[in-house]
Amino acid sequence: MRSLRYGALCALTMLIPLSPVSAEEGVTKTEIVIGNVLPMTSSAALVGRAAHFGTVIAAAEANANGGVNGRKIIIKTEDDGYVPARTVQGLRKLMDEGLFGLIGTGAGAGTAAILPILEEEKIPTIVSFSPVKASIDPIKPTIFMIGASYQDLIFAQMKYIHDNDVPENPKYGIIRQDDDFGNQLEEGFNRAIEAYKPEAADPIRYKRGQKDFGAEILRTRSNGVNILVAGGVTTEIPAMLKEASKFKMDLRIATVPTSTLPPIMKLSAPSGYHYYSGDYISPMGSDGTAHFAEVAKASLTEEELGAVNRYSLTGYVAGKIMIEAIRRCGDEPTRACVVDKMTSGEPFDTTGITLPLTFAPDRHISATAVRVLEVDPTAGTVTPVTEFEQF
């Protein structure tokens, strides 16, 4: 029993934080900590893990070249399980252990949940996992964003279909998740409806986690929809396509970038549909991602490479920009300096994944130009059909 008491005493002393004394949070003589809060478990793990490894690759690349002005970049990732409240907890945990900057900000609602903390604590942040307009509109001094919003991604595809691939008697429809993600899709959809004034069916909402889309597709069919926004997050997209193929519906289909992920393409293949997607970065496997693929191979294990996909690219780009901004700050990086360098207008190279990116004091967002992609899931190919364009 005595040992128990000692145990309790030890446990108590362990609670006392051992915080390193240093000029800036998350910076020691040898290390700089960059954090992620991402869905590493749950149904979004497919994308969360990929984003995590993207930042790991960026850090490994910098560290292989001797680090940033002699300091090693450390990536720390907390799991939020796709639940906003846990995104807040994860961020607190990271801040506690010493955090310099943040890249992964959880999914849409998670990002919204942590914005006030990020603003208060003045943490340099590059939102890249789930581009939510609220992160940069209105502008928050230390928060930046890479990527077009879902609104733009959907609108770009609607515009392309309207201009180039319009069926006879066009009728627009959308099936979308009943959360903030779905809301953004519907806003993009509504923008197209206002712009082109076509016939449109009432939007259909489904519950997060739903698997079966029989009734939704039947409704879409009876409404005569032939241009459909299949607003699923991951496996919902193939489920919708499969039901639609049962009735041999003639559809033009718009989707979100997850539809270009190999597992999703594999599930979509049997439906026989080609579909559109939109993106603001070069597709995986194209010339633009060659450098990335090389670095990834050099810095990850075989098993970890299996988790890499399109979402690793945005993680990598955000990581690269953050690291470059720190590098530009020289020997004594501070948060204020990093923000300064971000907004200086000097471009950041992204090794071809996007054009070199710039930010400005009045523009904290970059890489917003969208390219429409045509996806052939059977062949596993993703082909750009337009150039990058602003929406």
């Binding site: 799991d79 906003p84 409240a85 846990r86 506690d96 919204a112 006030p116 959360d179």
Partner: protein, 348 residues
């Protein structure tokens, strides 16, 4: 050495506890909790704040399930209604937090009557699933009644001034939650010692017999629902203070199951059980993380891709093993330890 518990006077009967040992333990525990913010890191503080909120909710659930025998899988619904009541009243209606927090309890209690009345005839798991159905309906409403609840956009809470406390500050929030938790525990202890509490136990043990003895099942079952949900609603309101951004995603059925897990692991029907269970269930994943952090780098980097699964495995296994050793929950374990100390050195 005390051999048995003899209560000789009326005063002793109504006292919360007649044992000075218990009192001193409780005092030490509370002093430790008061000193905690000055020792712990902010993250750990946030975790223990979560424990405090869970304690409030778990005590509420324990009154319903542990003491009255009405199983509920709908805690997520009551928590959500409390959380949204506080959040919306502060943000959209400009109520001061001092009023918005009790309002959370009141709204949840009223809602519980709405569930309670049709559920009066239901028993066991039928009741459990009905409450679960209720919680699904509540979250559905919160998501779809966008004009009232902001739907999927969630609610952000700015004003957090509670009687001069700034609840945006982690330490002040912690102390506030601690105070609410202590008040809840005292309230529950008092309710359970009265005629009402004994009526609850009688209903749990045999409802027909209780009725024969003149206990109105309708009244007491509804009363149990209302008291329990009031506390759970308050816990929901505290969650609004803690997260400052609320959205329905967290109020899913897993949260309801977790709440039930807390009181089963802790020990059914006891306030101490609710407290111990909350500490256990919330801190267990953290503990597994700490254990994993001790692994040498080479192993942990090899496991990096599975780290969250390993934590899940350990959490699940710990729960199973603990129940194997002590099926009565942590309170049972606590009693054993206590007996060991009182009888020492004669204990075996």
């Amino acid at each position: 050495m005390r051999t048995r518990h003899f209560v000789e006077t009326y005063q002793k009967h109504v006292a919360l506890s007649d044992s000075p040992a218990t009192w001193s333990w409780v005092a030490i525990f509370i002093i430790a909790l008061l000193a905690f913010p000055f020792l712990a890191s902010t993250y750990l503080l946030a975790m223990v704040t979560s424990v405090g909120i869970m304690v409030v909710g778990a005590i509420g659930l324990n009154i319903l399930t542990g003491s009255t025998g009405l199983i509920s899988l709908g805690q997520a619904g009551f928590l959500a209604s409390g959380c949204y009541t506080t959040g919306l009243l502060i943000t959209d209606y400009g109520w001061p937090p001092e009023l918005a927090l009790p309002a959370a309890g009141v709204v949840s209690a009223l809602l519980s009557l709405l569930v309670g009345i049709p559920s009066l005839r239901l028993k066991g798991l039928y009741l459990a699933i009905t409450t679960m159905a209720f919680s699904f309906i509540v979250t559905h409403f919160l998501l779809y009644a966008e004009s009232i609840t902001h739907g999927p956009y969630g609610v952000r809470i700015e004003d957090l001034n509670f009687l001069g406390l700034d609840l945006a500050d982690q330490v002040q929030l912690y102390l506030f939650v601690l105070a609410v938790a202590i008040l809840t525990a005292l309230a529950a202890l008092n309710i359970l010692r009265t005629r009402v509490g004994r009526a609850f136990n009688a209903i749990r043990d045999h409802d027909i017999a209780a009725r024969v003895m003149g206990i109105s099942l309708t009244r007491y079952k509804l009363f149990a629902f209302a008291i329990s949900s009031f506390m759970v609603g308050i816990a929901g309101g505290l969650m609004a203070f803690q997260f400052r951004f609320i959205n329905v995603d967290i109020f899913n059925v897993l949260l309801s199951i977790e709440a039930l897990a807390v009181i089963i692991v802790g020990g059914l029907g006891s306030v101490a059980g609710a407290i111990l269970g909350s500490f256990f269930i919330i801190l267990l994943p953290e503990a597994t993380r700490e254990v994993l952090d001790f692994l040498p780098d080479s192993i942990s980097s090899a496991l990096s891709i599975y780290i969250y699964e390993i934590r899940g495995l350990m959490t699940g296994l710990t729960i199973i093993i603990m129940l194997r050793i002590k099926p009565q929950g942590l309170v049972g374990l606590w009693r054993d330890v206590k007996r060991y100390w009182t009888h020492w050195p004669l204990s075996k």
